[in-house]
Assembly symmetry: C2
Homo-oligomer: 187 residues x 2
């Protein structure tokens, strides 16, 4: 297993903006859980904010709301079958770490476990709950990020509904065209 490095939280847009399916881990009162999530967006660079929809029907919803924390883990494309199994099982019935052979590892700033098999782990604390009641929309602050060292971005998963996923395809460097933004923190 490759050792992860600390990653600047203001750069996590590079990981989330392409739209990968993520696995959200949580812990509350001695229990842990994992859910699959596809509805998320970056909201801000600094502080590092991410908005996510977590349906109240999910076992994770109460665990995250009550603990105030979670970890957003980014799986690579080879984990697709595990991602599907996690999304199609209920944390009230089974321990998903045990059931799917995943390794919890200790986070630095939250109690929720990191998924060791995932390429990146973003430790999150709830930042704003104003949109939770109406839209199940949580705003998290990323307080610590761990990422496997990489030269080019690893292949992640993108969900299209109806059981269809795609991976990342051809890579294009268009940086020369970024005349307005090049060199700025938002580039």
């Amino acid at each position: 297993m490759i050792t992860k490095r600390d990653y600047p939280t203001q750069n996590i847009r590079r990981l989330l903006e392409p739209g990968p399916v993520v696995l959200v881990s949580s812990a509350h009162k001695g229990r842990t859980n994992i859910m699959t999530m596809g509805w998320h967006t970056v909201l801000e660079f600094t502080p590092s904010l991410v908005g996510c929809v977590i349906a109240s029907s999910n076992h994770s919803f109460d665990m995250i709301r009550k603990s105030g924390e979670c970890v957003i883990n980014i799986p690579t494309a080879d984990m697709v079958d595990t991602v599907v199994k996690i999304g199609n099982s209920d944390g009230g019935d089974i321990d998903k770490f045990d059931a799917f052979g995943l390794t919890p590892s200790k986070a630095a700033k939250v109690k929720a476990p990191l998924l060791r098999e995932c390429f990146a782990n973003l430790e999150c604390k709830i930042h704003d709950t104003r949109m939770v009641n109406k839209y199940n929309f949580f705003i998290f602050k990323v307080v610590k990020a761990h990422v496997m060292p990489f030269r080019k971005f690893p292949q992640t998963l993108h969900y299209h509904g109806q059981g269809i996923f795609t991976t990342d395809g051809r890579r294009m460097d268009k940086s020369r065209g970024f005349t307005k933004w090049k060199g700025s923190p938002t580039f």
Copy 2:
């Protein structure tokens, strides 16, 4: 140019959940504009809701807030250079339709123009502005969707920061694993 078909608004997650870069068109007081946007998420199936960050520094911000409308257009990968140019120019200085050879076409339910060259056009009205002041986060309701007929999803663009884009890669049908969700409207 291929004629588009009406597309059910409750299915637009199939287009947006994979995380494509989109082009947002707007109209206000006889002027139009286009901006590139990467920070968005689906929020609900029915009503069809999408949340987006539109920075207040964008020329489009006021046009969208004041008109209460926009169109989310999804470009295909062959439009990457146009996407970069739109994101690196200012609608206060130029007419982006003219400058980049794009064709505005008439929407059904909003005044903002559709971008004819894009694969999909989602007509949107502002649904909730409570998060605009603090996060520049608009919640739109998709009131009408137009999509080119397709057998498999067209290649779109995913932005990784620093001028790097990827297209959609390998497609995997994992529908057999969706034991919990298959057949439900959220599948």
